[in-house]
């Protein structure tokens, strides 16, 4: 009989491990509990013992590779095997490693949107000793054997657990116990039976690139989840949601954000817009406030180049192209198509580019290059009624402009209260390279341009 060796879960929040070293070669004899391989997770190196005695038949994961927990990393032909006819049908390849590619992982997640909650984070202490968990059915079929009264006393099973185990031919030694000292409780065994097919935390969790995402989206400690699983529903994020989530955490972690707000008068721009709207529409451009703002930003970025930069270690990368991303809200998320070379475009060309990108974004017809290469971003919380926003920078850029609602307000001009069309605009900037005075200088450029528009 063969025994699968899996990447053990070495802790609640541990979702994957790197094989550092195999201590045995294929064909080597191994004893139960003899060190078999070394893994590395985060700052910890651990030596993993063999779950059973026999001959190491396969090594499926090479040194240096990182795989999710519960991935089968090796197979051992157990001692006492009738060697000659290992039925190939029983080859354990069914429960094979989910390669850590995003598509596979998210596919797995999608196919099982509401996993039995109790199959969630396994009790780590028993992880190393439950290598069969990856294929509970197989375990039930082939490994279950009656245990003696003495043994069951040693396992400290309650009578009800013992009864269920007997009825379903389950070897409780394969179950991760959540009770005292790893004791298997009634809910553990019921969850085990219910789980049927393996849904490993890793399959749900390791949505992609190795390492970082798991840190960016840490697992909640169980104590912070409602204890009754019927009171909530667990839904995996879509790939887009997940990417946004990771990027936002990463950005906040990378850039010390500071925000400044300016009030900007749109009276003049509004007059021009009304006058030229029809003319622009004929040319395929929609003359929106956003077109004016984009053009104003392009000029301001030219005047204050550090706002159009990136930070690479202790170097500042000044970009010669001015490519302005414009955040477009979609029903299913958010996407930021980029107006390339905005500083070389006329107001008409910018308005054409924006309406083209926005409509293709809503029709899901953007090409990858349409959303790449941005050097600055504008987002528009005002369309949803926000007075102003405090946006998060899109990395590796160093600044982002938030446009609040453009609306008529009472203002004081020449000691008289009058009505003006105004909006708050906020700049969120990376204080590593942009100081307040510089950000304000940039905003003054934008303000002056919009308030005194000349074509």
């Amino acid at each position: 009989m063969s025994k699968q060796v899996v990447m053990p879960q070495m802790g609640e929040s541990v979702a994957e491990g790197t094989i550092v070293r195999w201590l045995k070669k294929v064909g080597d004899q191994v004893e139960r509990d003899e060190p078999l391989f070394e893994i590395s997770t985060d700052k910890v190196d651990a030596e993993i013992p063999s779950p059973s005695a026999g001959v190491l038949r396969e090594i499926n994961v090479q040194e240096g590779a990182t795989v999710p927990i519960d991935t089968v990393v090796a197979v051992i032909d157990e001692a006492g095997d009738a060697a000659p006819s290992p039925a190939p049908a029983k080859k354990p390849q069914a429960a094979v490693p989910a390669p850590p590619s995003e598509s596979t992982a998210s596919g797995a997640a999608a196919s099982k949107p509401t996993p039995a909650p109790s199959s969630a984070p396994a009790s780590p202490r028993s992880a190393a000793s439950r290598p069969d968990r990856a294929s509970p059915r197989a375990a039930q079929g082939s490994l279950a054997k009656p245990w003696s009264a003495a043994e069951s006393r040693q396992l400290r099973l309650s009578p009800v657990v013992r009864k269920i185990a007997r009825e379903h031919h389950v070897d409780v030694r394969n179950i991760a116990g959540s009770g005292d000292a790893g004791r298997v409780t009634k809910s553990d065994i019921l969850a085990y039976l219910e789980a049927g097919s393996p849904v490993t935390p890793a399959a749900r969790e390791s949505g992609g690139a190795q390492g970082a995402p798991l840190e960016l989206l840490p697992r909640l400690p169980p104590s912070l989840l409602p204890s009754d699983p019927s009171t909530f529903e667990r839904t995996p994020m879509t790939v887009m949601r997940r990417k946004i989530a990771e990027h936002m955490v990463m950005s906040k972690r990378t850039s010390p954000h500071v925000h400044s707000a300016f009030e900007i008068d749109f009276g003049r721009v509004d007059a021009i817009r009304k006058a030229k709207k029809a003319e622009y529409e004929k040319a395929g451009g929609k003359l929106t406030y956003m077109s004016f703002i984009t053009k104003a930003c392009a000029e301001a970025l030219k005047a204050v180049p550090v706002v159009n930069s990136s930070v690479d270690a202790a170097d500042v990368i000044y970009k010669k192209d001015i490519n302005i991303g414009i955040a477009v809200a979609l029903e299913w998320g958010l996407i930021v198509p980029v107006v390339k070379g905005a500083d070389r475009m006329s107001l008409l060309e910018i308005s054409q580019a924006i309406s083209d990108l926005a409509s293709r974004a809503r029709d899901k017809k953007l090409k990858p290059e349409d959303v790449q290469g941005g050097t600055f971003t504008i987002t528009n919380p005002g369309v949803f009624g926000a007075l102003f926003g405090m946006p998060i920078i899109s990395q590796p850029q160093v600044a982002i402009l938030g446009v609040g609602a453009v609306e008529k307000r009472p203002v004081v001009i020449d000691d008289a209260v009058t009505v003006a069309l105004r909006a708050y605009m906020t700049i969120g900037y990376d204080h590593r390279v942009i100081d307040g005075a510089v950000a304000d200088q940039f905003m003054q450029h934008v303000k002056k341009k919009i308030e005194n528009w000349t074509e």
């Binding site: 070495m10 802790g11 609640e12 929040s13 541990v14 790197t18 550092v20 070293r21 509990d33 060190p35 070394e38 590395s40 997770t41 985060d42 700052k43 910890v44 190196d45 651990a46 030596e47 013992p49 780590p124 202490r125 992880a127 190393a128 000292a181 790893g182 970082a212 840190e215 960016l216 840490p218 972690r253 270690a313």
Partner: protein
């Protein structure tokens, strides 16, 4: 409460400490010793974590320079990248069985951080964690580093806590492979004089608290 035997070993060469740990892990597994906390200092040494190749790329100094400054270079078999140990740094090597109730490698690392963070507070210093990185940090500077090995839930290696460490030596490496942020010590961060013994006492106290162990110190009792 489970006992924790604290052994203060003074200055121990890195290689000797490696061998000692290896032997004690076996002793601990056979239950011939209780949980142990070894406290010691190393002579100047740079050590590489288990992912040796990656760690080597974070060694900035040429072998000749290391030799001229009397710094040894060792592979360690612990987790983590590259680090420096030397006089003025309290190195703690817990040889503990994490079974039955502490079998979680991340929790173990967080607990070691907690010990250093609480100890720093004893000296009026507010240390903390940085998400995604391990260790105890004062602002963007690392006060204490962590590198752990776990063999069938028996721990070895552990933490290194800068007390009066000559921080210049860290310029020989990129500590832990992390390019942002520097290193600091209790003495530097408090602009005061903290002795190695005071720091060690505080570590022992908090270690016992965090891990729920009762301290036994044979050497001290007889003294």
């Amino acid at each position: 409460m489970r006992p924790l035997e604290v052994r203060r070993l003074g200055v121990v060469p890195y290689k000797a400490a490696l061998e000692m740990q290896r032997a004690l892990v076996d002793e601990r597994r056979a239950d011939r010793v209780p949980d142990l906390l070894l406290l010691l200092e190393h002579p100047h040494v740079i050590t590489l974590g288990a992912k040796v190749e990656a760690a080597r790329s974070n060694l900035l100094a040429a072998p000749e320079l290391l030799a001229s400054r009397n710094v040894e270079l060792h592979e360690s078999g612990r987790g983590g990248d590259i680090t420096y140990h030397g006089p003025g740094q309290v190195v703690g090597y817990p040889i503990m069985d994490l079974r039955p109730d502490r079998c979680d490698v991340h929790k173990y690392v967080r607990d070691l951080e907690e010990v250093m963070i609480r100890s720093a507070a004893d000296f009026g210093l507010s240390a903390g964690r940085i998400a995604g990185l391990s260790g105890a940090w004062v602002g963007a500077d690392k006060l204490g580093a962590i590198g752990v090995r776990i063999s069938r839930w028996i721990t070895s290696h552990g933490f290194a806590y800068n007390v009066t460490t000559d921080l210049d030596f860290f310029s020989l490496i990129v500590p832990c492979g992390i390019r942002s942020g520097g290193v600091t010590s209790l003495s530097r961060a408090t602009s005061g004089r903290v002795s190695i013994d005071e720091a060690a006492d505080s570590l022992v106290r908090h270690f016992a608290d965090v891990f729920g162990r009762e301290v036994v110190e044979p050497a001290r009792r007889s003294a």
